[in-house]
Symmetry: C2
Subunit: 368 residues, 2 copies
């Protein structure tokens, strides 16, 4: 199949490159003596979650119960929902999900959330395995470290919950703040988690699992030896953001956009058939030192930039003031942020061993 | 139904307010002696497209053939796809669609695009009604005005196309450039279109329809008397962007987010269950003079700001340094840009006459 035969704008995934990325991370994490529980937020497809488990992952991580349901439908049976499970509508769905998987781990970061979950467990005459989210500096969800021990004690008293782990996410914040050093961030993250675990264990609470690590920090966190699980997501496909963070190379990127040039009104700009409904905008321009000051990198045409968009229009300009593009031409582009890119596609093209087929993005748009 | 019973994060639409917005625009455009052909990009739902046609719209506007297919499935039979129809995969679908609606108008802005469309028409022994897109300053799709007459002549020679109209979109560019004055922009848009139409008509080409106008400029364009059709979209639900442009009031906004507070780790910030997979980011912060320097406006809580996000995390801060929020609380938020907001929801809650039900967003994610 030729690129020009694809229905654009679309995302095409090189399955063999994705598998190489999966196997490499699994091997490196295992060699560090750590477990890998990849976050499915990047691919959102049972197909790739199964690939990760077959490669040796202990299970998967989801952000939302609706994502976890899709993964369970796809045969995944060891799932951690790494997001505080708040809201009666969400707890109801988690209760139902727990009955059809081998292991479901739920997250708490407040006594209010834990109490509601405890009540639901008791009503079902069951006990939920839970992990407490610790804020190691991201300033989003997660109990502050100074409040963690008291909260852990209070959660441990609830008969419907078994507090068996701690987890964290160390944000490398791309929304206006400077990029951290990954290695430094990883060590800080692991050490803060380990310290918090020690304080909680000293209260007589058994903490079996200490889980950290994103794609930028994951491997470095695993190698500290003080956590027993990491949860990277983006490493499976990689993107420009990971390249910028120094933990990926352009040639390792497994997911690319294909778009069609629909208009060339002037030699200095051209329009492709995807805009903000297709290319991620969750990394505002000029707020981070990206290699390519653009919303995507046009492969094999380094003079081109996708640097303005409307909903359906991607405006390509050229550093030479001549795009050299023609109407009907097909372009291949690398995403800045692959997770939100895939979230906007109902299906993607999978390319493997010379054949191409469409696969639905099952957990796309799962917000609940 | 109470807000706290909704599965969040979600969008709730006040159907009666949407109907008031639809009726008001229809009345004003008709009073200006103009036709209304609303763009469905905002709601993406046949339910609301039918409401617009029942109120007097001559037909609807779509951006993509895949959107038009969904609208045809929903009973809409007079459709303008206001986007250059380029790509064999897209033309194939348009050919099939033309056979099942009363009127399908296709767009061209290049001779290459027109030639491919002409070929497809001749192969089917048919003739497509087409409109030529004119760039009146947006610098995206649309032939430059100085090239319009020659292109129109060349298109008019193609036996498979009937060039019967001109259209334009006057961008008020929110991505880094200053906001234009709406009234001024509307007059400029209408006059440039009318001038171009005169030049083309002087070549002996019959131009029946001159179509312009977005939600900010639409009514002012209609009132110039030199166009016979306008294509606003956002006016049906309105959003903060339209309020900022002075063509909407907060109380006219018909679409709002409902989100649940999932975490309050510190009194100065709280986390809601929606982030960049839910709230639009296609209007980067600090690039335009929005009333509310945030990704959404928290209703009835003016001290709160949604000003940082990750994919699943919306971080709420307070101008008083105390959010006053508690875990489990439900918030109502107004979107900056409603079109891309609805594009990220598989379904929305419709609220009408005291009842609430879920309606799928049929044309969500239709990129082809």
């Amino acid at each position: 199949m030729e690129l020009s035969e694809l229905e654009t704008p679309c995302i095409m995934i090189d399955v063999e490159q994705a598998r190489r990325n999966v196997v490499a991370m699994q091997k490196a994490v295992n060699e560090a003596g750590c477990c890998l529980r990849p976050h499915i937020k990047t691919h959102k497809m049972p197909f790739f979650a199964r690939m990760q488990v077959e490669a040796g992952a202990v299970g998967i991580t989801c952000a939302k119960v609706s994502e976890a349901e899709i993964m369970a439908d796809g045969g995944l049976d060891d799932i951690f929902i790494a997001y505080p499970l708040v809201g009666a509508f969400r707890i109801r769905r988690a209760v139902a999900l727990a009955k059809r998987v081998k292991r479901l781990i739920l997250a708490v970061d407040s006594i209010e959330g834990a109490a509601a979950l405890n009540e639901a467990a008791l009503a079902e005459n069951t006990c939920f395995e839970t992990r407490l989210e610790i804020d190691t500096g991201a300033k989003r969800t997660g109990v502050l470290m100074r409040n963690a021990a008291l909260l852990a004690e209070n959660i441990a008293r609830l008969p419907g919950l078994r507090l068996a782990g701690l987890y964290t996410f160390k944000s490398l914040n791309y929304q206006g703040e400077a990029t951290c050093d990954n290695e430094l961030a990883a060590h800080e993250e692991a050490e803060l988690l380990a310290e918090t675990a020690t304080v909680i264990r000293n209260k007589g609470i058994t903490i079996e699992d200490i889980s950290g690590g994103s794609s930028p920090t994951g491997l470095a966190v695993a190698r500290t030896g003080v956590v027993n699980e990491v949860r990277p997501g983006t490493y499976i496909f990689k993107d420009l953001m990971l390249c910028d963070e120094g933990v990926a190379q352009l040639e390792e990127i497994a997911a690319r956009f294909v778009a069609t040039v629909v208009s060339c009104p002037s030699e200095d700009y051209a329009i492709i058939d995807g805009g903000t409904k297709c290319f991620p905008t969750d990394v505002p321009l000029n707020t981070a030192p990206f290699f390519y000051n653009a919303y995507a990198y046009v492969e094999a045409m380094e003079h081109l930039r996708l640097n303005r968009m409307n909903e359906e229009h991607g405006i390509i300009t050229s550093s030479t003031r001549k795009t050299g593009l023609r109407v009907g031409q097909t372009l291949s582009l690398l995403p800045i942020h692959v997770c939100t890119a895939i979230n906007m596609q109902n299906s993607v093209y999978l390319w493997e061993q010379g054949t191409m087929h469409r696969e639905p993005v099952g957990a796309r748009g799962m917000l609940v």
